[in-house]
Each structure stands twice: as structure tokens, then as C-alpha cells.
Symmetry: C2
Subunit: 341 residues, 2 copies
């Protein structure tokens, strides 16, 4: 039986639950509006390590280990871990996982990583290849700034469209043995590139990819925006969010009632000087594992479409005058196993 | 039904065929011992593009498009493409795929990428999530040298243990509708780090990961080396190959009869000045899609264990004094659908 419904979407046939999650964030994120939803708030950016990169790795190890522990499992119970991050050659993930002895699939989806790892992990479970799978990702303001932009010491001015890379790591344990919330539908994005070349305006580059995946999701599933309590992109920021609403309006799909973006939720732009909002793999990961899953547990949210977006550029491609290819992956998460019938 | 046999291995339950493949290599690879097996040999390193990075992207686009065409399919028939490469943020893949409009999963496995993409793609097919899936990867001597080591113009001396990054891209189309060769078993590697810190000796860093996965494969499946016509790692090089043979001898598993390495096959070390042999994601990809699949078609090889190995370091981790985490993923490819019973 083909589980594919429409061109880009699959519907899972087994109950695949997010049985636990954990996260850790930096000081600034811990001072933001979502503060109460985070497990651990670091007191500084290095967390006892000799470099920011080592700190980011340690964060990913901590988020993963904590999620496994919360599920009352041990690393030995985990059949696969899917992980990735923003750093060159995804070193946050590979160094974070080297002492855990879990079969490993490395992922690169830029800021779409959390949705990509949960997509693949859920399909591997539904396909009977595993019982428990972990997904984890991270980002760190200091490692990302110096890799993508400038040395932090340079103190470069940020443009109004620039986003602030979230320091954070989030992890989930997906399992065939659980009572929800359930991953029910997965819509996988295509690479979309509308020619935006401004690496300080990622929201504008990624919004068309988000629109493309969202359109495919509604068309493939027959859902409407109101079938969800929350449609959450991560992380278009304030500008990208407005663009997505406009793009969807052209498609006669009105998102205004129940749509938000992780990059807009995680910081208070007025008081935290984050310009267009948060970004980074960690932004979606900690907003999902903190805010969203907490509200789902309390049944304040029951049906959520989580769509993480990624800008697939590099400093090299930008220097060579290239535009910014983007991608967005969407997953339906519901307290109702039979969401969508 | 759980398809898992043992801790790291799954056995597919449906016939998942490699229905076509294509590759493209650089001039040096086209002058090597495997020359006759390649579809396209480029006349220079830029292939009409303004940068080596753009050339590498074009190679990946070409390998993928050619493989789809050989299968008498169009991009619209492909449900997912899984792709990755060595460049920072995997830009070879994202730029290669942006005009093809295929749902995309980005992968990072360093030189293990070809085995990782085929592993995940085969499981997604066996799990009924798709009918046709493409896997593609690439590497390029010039893009890798300047990213990982030094500007090419610097003309740095290479150590005897250094490997030569293959310029090449290979792609396969995996399908539920085919007559083999079949992907039958998949053993997924854990991250192994034995403390090797010499970034010019990748073979020594990766051999323990290869040994770990190989041991798990034989233990999980009950196979012995002689069940295969060829056990092929990619790409340990000459030194790593010897280390793997030694490590396996300690486990009382004798590989000497039917084991080789893509890095050793692709160049003639005596005349091509490649020191310890070939490396790069493209090395395993073109050796598999060229040499191995050709010999399987002629039934000169019938049962092959293809195990690509990846060194998960970055120049940043090396500069920070870190050792080299490594991983190896193995897939059984057989002309016999019922290989292993």
C-alpha cells in the first residue's frame, strides 16, 4: 500500500508518538517570552567549554541525553539518531554523538533540520525499521555569526531584516510505543529559489519555499488552515512571516487567524534588539520542544502544523554571487491519532 | 513486523532495485584504471562554469538527470531525492537540485554519503512512502582542497598518507519496479572516534568505524565474508585498507580474499601520484555506479557489500585540536532477491 497522498505528502499508518523532548537555550533566549518552557538555561555562551563550537556540541549531547532519560530509556534503546546543524560539516552533531553509540544518520537541512529529522525518523518507524528514534539539532549565536558573517569582535552593524541566530538545542524521542502527540502527515519540500541574494534577508528568501510546501500540504491532504490550532513556521522572522501571509493570500488561503513563526515567538523584538526575529536550527527545535509540545500536553493546542524552513546557502555561494535556494518541510502533529480521518 | 535483525541492521521485505545509475568524472579519474566504466569524462575542472563550486553543482545535476533519463523516467516520476556533499552547507547538492522540483532530503555523511542516501532511500521505498527515489552525491578535488586544506595555488606538499579527493558525481535511481540489482540489507554505522587527530591520515581515522560496522553486519546477519563476491569500502585508501584487514583479523574475520577499497581502485598510485589513494563522496559514488554496477549487470559480481566511510571532521574542529569522529554505512546489493534467505 502506498502511503503517499498527493505529490509531496505521506500519511503515516501507525501511531508514531513524540514520547519525550528536551531542550537547552542560551541566556538571551532564557530572558525571552518563551522562558518558562525551556528545560535548561545556560548562564553563558561557552558553558564551561574552551570554544563556542564545543559548547554547541555539548548542548546537543545534553538535549539528546535528557530527552532519552525523560522517556525512561537508555541510549541502547534508541535504534537511530538523526541529527544535523548549521556548522561546516555538521560538527556539532558528530562530536555530540560520538560517545553515545547509536546508529547515526547525518542530516543537512539548515534551519529546516528539526522538521527533516522528525520526517525521516517518523517514516523509518512507520516502515517498521525501528522502535525508538531520536532527532536532535542545535544552533549557537556565536558559532553561526563567525562562520556565516563576521568575527563577533568586529561588532558589525546588523540590517533591519537580519535575524538573530538562536543559541539552543532541542531533541525529541519518537516511538511506536506511546500515547501521542502523534506525527500523522509529512509534507516534504522542494528546493525553491526566487532569486533573493541578500544573505541578511533570509525571511524573504525562505518565504516562497514555505508557501510552496504549505500549498502542497493543503492540496495533498484536503486540510484547511482552520483544521489546525496553530500553523507554525520556523524561522521566517517578522518580514518573512508577512511575506508568507501575502503569498498565501494570493492562493486564497488565509493564514491570519492561527499562524505564527518560531522566530517571532522566541524573542521580544522591542526589548531584545533582535531585529527581524530569531533564526537557526535551534530556533524551531526549542520552540517545538518547549512551547508547542508543552501546550499540546495541556491540550491548549491539539493540532499543529510545524513547518521548519531552511536557507541552503553558504558564505562561498554568496561570495560567488549566487542567490539563496530554500526549502521547507511540514509535519502534522496531533493529539488525535486519527487526525484527518 | 520489525524488519530489524540485530542491533544495527535491517532486512528489506520488498524488492528494492537500483534501476539505473549515472556518473561523471574529472580528467584524472578518466585516465585511471576504471576509465571504461564512466559515462562522462570532463575535459577540465571547471566544465564551462565560472567556479569549481558551480562545476561541482553542475556535475551533480548532470549525474542525477542522466540517471533519471536512463531509467526512462522524468523528474516528475521521482518522489524524493536524497543528496549531500562535502562542501560547507552542502551547496553542491542544493544548487544542483534547485531546478528539478523534486521533494528533497539533504544528507551529511561526508564520504559515507552514497551509502547513507541509498540506505535511507531504500527504507523509504520498502516502507511504502515512494515508488522511485534518487540518491546523488559528488566531490571535486579543487573545491575540497581549498576548503579543507590550502589554496591550490599554494602548492603544498602532500604527506604519504594523504588521499586525493576524487572529482566525480554518481547517482542512482532506486525503485519498487525493477529486476535488480536489489538492496537487501542495510547496516547503519555508529560514530567511532579512536583519537586520531591527523587530518592527512583519514584512512587511519575511518578504519575503526569500518571495522565496527563490518563486525555488526556479520554478527547481525550471520553472513561470512565469503557470502560476498566483493566487500568494498569507500574510501579508506591504501593505508586504511591495511588497517581494516588487520582490525578484522583480530576479530577472526579474514577479508583478504575478496575485499577492496574504492580509493585503491580508482587511481593507479604508481603512475598517478595520488599517494594513499582516492577519497571524497564522489569516490564511492562513481566506483559503485561505474565499476560495481557494470560488473553486476554482467554477473561477474553477484553479491556485493558496499560500505562507504566518512570522516566527520571540519577544518575548525581540527584547528581546535579535536580528533576525527568517523562513520561507516554498509548495504548489501545482490542480483539475487532472496540473498541471505
Amino acid at each position: 500500500m502506498n502511503k503517499r497522498i498527493g505529490k509531496q505528502t505521506v500519511k503515516l499508518t501507525q501511531p508514531i508518538s513524540i514520547i519525550s523532548s528536551a531542550n537547552i537555550v542560551g541566556k538571551k533566549e532564557g530572558e525571552g517570552p518563551l522562558s518558562q518552557y525551556f528545560d535548561t538555561i545556560m548562564s553563558d555562551a561557552t558553558w564551561g567549554e574552551s570554544s563556542w563550537e564545543k559548547a554547541e556540541s555539548k548542548m546537543q549531547n545534553e538535549a539528546l541525553s535528557h530527552a532519552i532519560q525523560k522517556a525512561s530509556l537508555t541510549p541502547d534503546d534508541i535504534d537511530y539518531v538523526l541529527a544535523g546543524d548549521l556548522l561546516n560539516q555538521c560538527i556539532s552533531s558528530s562530536f555530540a554523538l560520538r560517545d553515545l553509540s547509536i546508529p547515526f544518520f547525518g542530516i543537512y537541512g539548515a534551519c529546516s533540520t528539526m522538521a527533516e529529522t522528525i520526517s525521516l525518523g517518523s517514516m523509518l518507524l512507520d516502515g517498521d525499521f525501528a522502535k525508538n528514534i531520536c532527532a536532535v539539532t542545535s544552533s549557537h549565536f556565536c558559532t553561526a555569526e563567525r562562520q556565516y558573517r563576521q568575527p563577533l569582535e568586529y561588532g558589525g552593524q546588523r540590517t533591519p531584516t537580519a535575524q538573530w541566530t538562536v543559541t539552543g538545542s532541542g531533541s525529541v524521542v519518537l516511538s511506536k510505543n506511546g500515547n501521542g502527540p502523534y506525527v500523522t502527515h509529512i509534507t516534504t519540500g522542494k528546493i525553491i529559489d526566487m532569486g533573493i541574494k541578500d544573505a541578511n534577508n533570509m525571511g524573504a528568501a525562505m518565504a516562497p519555499a514555505a508557501a510552496d510546501t504549505l500549498k502542497a500540504h493543503f492540496s495533498d491532504t484536503g486540510f484547511e488552515p482552520n483544521d489546525y490550532d496553530l500553523i507554525l513556521t520556523g524561522d521566517l522572522g517578522t518580514l518573512g512571516k508577512e511575506i508568507l501571509i501575502d503569498l498565501m493570500m494570493h492562493e486564497k488561503i488565509d493564514l491570519r487567524d492561527n499562524y505564527d513563526d518560531c522566530g517571532c515567538l522566541i524573542f521580544d523584538a522591542d526589548t531584545q534588539d533582535t531585529h527581524a526575529g530569531g533564526s537557526g536550527c535551534g530556533c524551531g527545535a526549542v520552540t517545538l520542544t518547549g512551547y508547542v509540545l508543552s501546550l499540546m500536553k495541556e491540550q491548549k493546542l491539539n493540532n499543529v502544523l510545524f513547518m521548519a524552513t531552511g536557507a541552503l546557502l553558504s558564505p562561498t555561494s554568496t561570495m560567488q554571487g549566487e542567490s539563496i535556494p530554500s526549502v521547507a518541510h511540514a509535519i502534522s502533529i496531533s493529539n488525535n491519532l486519527h487526525f484527518g480521518g
